[in-house]
Structure formats: structure tokens, C-alpha cells
């Protein structure tokens, strides 16, 4: 499978006032084809910063450095800000965690989707409107006409997230980065939103990067899983092969999770080995 995105030696640093650097991402390399790749980690693992760095969404005092971020033949690191703006939303899209905070509260759902679409395609209003309805139906919103006229605060979390997905997929991007897209949703709603994402990604042959803290969810949804700790990738797994994970951090993570199907007398407490922070990042190209 040819790579859609190839990230080589990505570093993200934040410079603190008064000296001192925080290294959020330390030399991460991976590739994503037309498949679903999950990036899992706890807070501070660097998973969110990795997603944002691909789209170069990090502002000073943050700094992105990479040997190369290859997307469809071009090195994103070498592009001007104007060129990046054409990539964002049009070729690579991002869905974020809480639609309450990522949807514009003073525009209706329909207007937002149309605006995003017209921004990238320059299409006239009529065409944009037709496309908007089409997208709302693609995310299984019945009564699309009515929902298009609603404001974000008038819809439930699950529907807000579906609107977000519709907005992000309207310009037909090649790659979707989803940053904790279902973490703010109820578990039954999570299922339906994931099913929609699953179908859309498959139908359009898109690549998907799914960033989350939920190891089990990512393992059941994605084709490949990258586990991050301390800004580095510590292990990669194929889907379904999670229990064969070898790295002590991954094993410790699995062991400290309570399980619905099996009682555990005590959840094992992770003993953090400082050596984990020193190991080089595992390359996740395959």
C-alpha cells in the first residue's frame, strides 16, 4: 500500500518563558496509507501534538521540526502558510473532541458546512447547499433540512459530532485526523458515530489517524495501533493483536484497565521505568 502520509523524525518543542524547553514529541516517525491508524497514549504522551503538527497547527512558543512530513509527494514542512491553508480542510481534515467547542456557536450547522465547502471549492451557493444536504444525509442525519437550520447548542453531542464530520468530509479530503472524536460522547452514541466514520473512510478510500486515550476502542476500530509514551512511539500493534503486545508500558496499560468480562481483584499499578523515556522512538512505517 502506498503511503499517503509519511512522517519522519518529528519533534515538537515548547519554549517556556525564562528558559527551559518542554519536548512534547521526540523524534516520531510513522506512515499512514489508505488505512486506519490509531495513536494511543495518556495525557502528556504527545499524541495530540503529533496530530496537530501534521497540519502545522502549532503556534509559537511551540516549534515543529521534522526531517520530512511527506504528503502525497510534497513535503509539508517546506510549504508556505498559504499553501498549508489549501491543504488544511481540503486535503487533510481534522475532527476534534467536543463539538460544543469546535463548532461556531453563532452559525447554523448548515451555514458552517456550506462555508467550509465553499472556502475550498469556490462553489456557488446552490451547489454548496446541495452538497451540504448530501453530507448530512451521509452522516445519517434524518431530516437534514431541519437540522441544517439548527444552531450547535440546539443539537445533542452525538449529532454535533456528526455535523462536524459532515463539515470536515464535505471537501472530500484524502486524510482525516480525528482527535478523540468520541471521547465526549455516550458509549452508545460512540458506536453509531464510529460506524459512520468507518463507512465513510472505507467508501472514499481515505486514510484515518485516530488519536485517543482509549486503548481498547482504538484496537477494535483501527487497522494498526501506535502506542505513545513520553513523546515517543513505544510500540506498534496490528489490530486484534493487542494482547500480544510486548512493550512493558503497553502491557502495564492493559493490566491496569478494569475489564467488564473478567473480574480483577486488584488493578495492577503501573511502575514507570525511566528507561522508557530514553529508548528511541519505534518507527511505524509498515
Amino acid at each position: 500500500m502506498s503511503d499517503l502520509l509519511r512522517v519522519e523524525d518529528l519533534w515538537v518543542r515548547f519554549f517556556k518563558r525564562g528558559g527551559g524547553v518542554v519536548e512534547a514529541v521526540r523524534g516520531v516517525s510513522f506512515a499512514v496509507g489508505r488505512e486506519r491508524v490509531g495513536i494511543v497514549g495518556e495525557s502528556g504522551s504527545g499524541k495530540t501534538m503529533t496530530g496537530r503538527a501534521i497540519l502545522r497547527l502549532i503556534r509559537p512558543p511551540g516549534e515543529i521540526r521534522a526531517k520530512r512530513i511527506g504528503f502525497d509527494g510534497t513535503d509539508l514542512m517546506g510549504l508556505s502558510e498559504r499553501a498549508m491553508r489549501r491543504i488544511r480542510g481540503e486535503r487533510i481534515s481534522m475532527v476534534m473532541q467536543d463539538p460544543k467547542f469546535s463548532l461556531n456557536p453563532v452559525m447554523t450547522a448548515g451555514e458552517q458546512i456550506m462555508e467550509a465547502y465553499r472556502l475550498h471549492t469556490g462553489a456557488p451557493r446552490g451547489e454548496a447547499r446541495a452538497r451540504m444536504i448530501e453530507m448530512l444525509e451521509a452522516v445519517q442525519i434524518r431530516d437534514a433540512e431541519r437540522v441544517a437550520g439548527l444552531y450547535p447548542h440546539e443539537v445533542s453531542g452525538g449529532m454535533g459530532q456528526r455535523i462536524m464530520i459532515a463539515m470536515m468530509l464535505a471537501p472530500d479530503p484524502d486524510l482525516l485526523i480525528a482527535d478523540e472524536p468520541t471521547s465526549a460522547l455516550d458509549v452508545t452514541v460512540q458506536m453509531s458515530v464510529l460506524q459512520i466514520m468507518d463507512r465513510l473512510v472505507r467508501e472514499r478510500g481515505m486514510g484515518l489517524i485516530f488519536v485517543s486515550h482509549d486503548l481498547n476502542l482504538v484496537a477494535s476500530f483501527c487497522d494498526r495501533v501506535l502506542i505513545m509514551y513520553g513523546g515517543r512511539i513505544v510500540e506498534t500493534c496490528r489490530a486484534g493483536a493487542l494482547n500480544e503486545a510486548r512493550h512493558p508500558y503497553t502491557r502495564a496499560l492493559l493490566e491496569s484497565l478494569p475489564r467488564l468480562d473478567r473480574p480483577k481483584p486488584r488493578l495492577s499499578v503501573m511502575r514507570r521505568d525511566p528507561a522508557w523515556l530514553e529508548e528511541p522512538s519505534v518507527d511505524a512505517f509498515a
Binding site: 455516550d186 464510529l194 460506524q195 476500530f221 491496569s256 478494569p258 486488584r266
Partner: protein, 257 residues
């Protein structure tokens, strides 16, 4: 005469708003928590589980039905003695500690309110009991990690030596590894002090780990009450419970036609 239940709710109902904006948050909720037991209230958002907890705590004044705690019937207001019996741990460790108070102030205030003696000693014991050393005593919440804040919140809840702890999603805002430590801590405290837990969560795995009996709520009502073994065996009676259990087990692709 058998010992009274720790908590008993009979037809507890809570409604908010007036007229057309009236919504029923809890609808004739009935359940019992045995003394020393651990009872879980599970549901999705809007299920009413947090409303029930807050009504028991006395944070919601406007409810109907019957509520008893250790044999005593509760009215719309709580008496001082109630706070020596029932305490609560809140969900968001970033919001449950006053940002301008040190840990010392947060822990000493309940003691001063109820005129306990040996305040210094109690604060130090309290910190030790939740696995925090004395160096944490004069820190501010923003100088603590999420897990440390939650430990302080637990220590605060235990300052008044309650018999019953109400836990509102105590680990949802925490990382997995920190969650494990906090859940272990809670389990230890419960067995050592013989506490009764009423735990509210949307995470079925956490509830199954911590609780012996579980009530599933939806739309303000209790859909089903089952014991943890039945839940683990995936043997619920109601469809909604089954649906919830399946969704909690990980992603299942849609049936392709």
C-alpha cells in the same frame, strides 16, 4: 431487627423547570444499598444518575418520594449530623478543590466547622491515608497533578469520618494508570474502614470492578438492577442493558447487508 440499609430510595423523583420547560431528571427511582455494600448507578448522559446522587447529598432541595439514610428519613434540608455520615467525591479534580486554598486549608476546614480536635494530626493522617506525604500540605491545586488532586478530594471527604461515600464519576477525568491507583485506593479504604459506596459512572468496566450491585438508568428511570456477576456474564434482562454492555466492549462494525 435487621440493620437498616445504608441508603434507601423509594420513588425518588426530581424535576427541573416549569411549565413547558419542565423536565423530569429522576422518575420514581427506587433502590437499596446495604450497609457496607457497594452499589453502582450506571447510565449515559441525561440518565439521571448524577441527579439521584446530588439529591441524596442534599444539593438539590426540590425532590419528592422517600429517602432514608441509616434508618433516618431525610427531608428537603440536611442536618449537621448528616455530613458526619455521608460525604461525596466529585468528578472533576480540577473543579472540586478551591483554586485559592492550599491543601491544608481544604482539609482543615471541615474539621474546624465541626470542631474536631487534633486538627494537625488528622490532616497528616488524612494525607497519609491517601498516599500523599506531608510535602503536599501547603501546595495549591494548580501545583498538583490530576491524580493528586483527586486523592486530596478523597482525603477531604474522609476528614469527617463518614460511613457512606457518594462517588460521582471519581476517575473519569483521570488517565488510565492514575485511575487504577485511585480505584485501588478507594477499594482499600472501603475494606479498611467498612465504608458503604454509592458509585455513579458511565464506565461499565469501572462499575463492575468496584460494585457488587448495579442499577442501570435511562431517561431518569431505573431500567434494571442486577448483580455484578450477572452483568459480567452478559445476562441482563432488559434490551437497553444489553445494548449498553455490547457498546462498552469495544467497536463492533455494522452488519453489512
Amino acid at each position: 431487627m435487621p440493620s437498616p440499609d445504608a441508603i434507601s430510595a423509594e420513588g425518588l423523583s426530581v424535576a427541573f423547570g416549569e411549565g413547558t420547560a419542565r423536565s423530569i431528571a429522576a422518575d420514581r427511582v427506587t433502590f437499596r444499598v446495604a450497609e457496607g455494600g457497594s452499589f453502582g448507578l450506571v447510565g449515559e448522559s441525561g440518565s439521571g444518575k448524577t441527579t439521584v446522587l446530588r439529591a441524596i447529598a442534599g444539593l438539590i432541595g426540590d425532590w419528592t418520594g422517600g429517602l432514608t439514610v441509616r434508618g433516618e428519613t431525610l427531608g428537603p434540608r440536611r442536618q449537621r449530623g448528616f455530613y458526619r455520615t455521608v460525604q461525596m467525591v466529585f468528578q472533576d479534580p480540577y473543579a472540586s478543590l478551591h483554586p485559592r486554598h492550599t491543601v491544608d486549608r481544604t482539609l482543615s476546614e471541615p474539621l474546624r466547622l465541626h470542631r474536631f480536635d487534633r486538627v494537625e494530626a488528622r490532616i497528616e493522617e488524612g494525607l497519609r491515608a491517601v498516599g500523599l506525604g506531608p510535602e503536599f500540605r501547603f501546595r495549591y491545586p494548580h501545583q498538583l497533578s490530576g491524580g493528586q488532586r483527586q486523592r486530596v478530594a478523597i482525603a477531604r471527604a474522609l476528614m469527617l469520618e463518614p460511613r457512606i461515600l457518594l462517588l460521582d464519576e471519581p476517575t473519569s477525568a483521570l488517565d488510565v494508570s492514575v485511575q487504577a491507583e485511585v480505584l485501588n485506593l478507594l477499594a482499600d479504604l472501603r475494606s479498611r474502614r467498612g465504608l458503604t459506596f454509592l458509585l455513579v459512572s458511565h464506565d461499565l468496566a469501572v462499575v463492575a470492578h468496584m460494585c457488587e450491585e448495579i442499577a442501570v438508568m435511562q431517561g431518569g428511570r431505573i431500567v434494571e438492577t442486577l448483580d455484578v456477576d450477572a452483568m459480567r456474564r452478559m445476562e441482563p434482562r432488559e434490551d437497553y442493558t444489553r445494548h449498553l454492555l455490547r457498546a462498552s466492549m469495544g467497536y463492533v462494525p455494522e452488519e453489512t447487508g
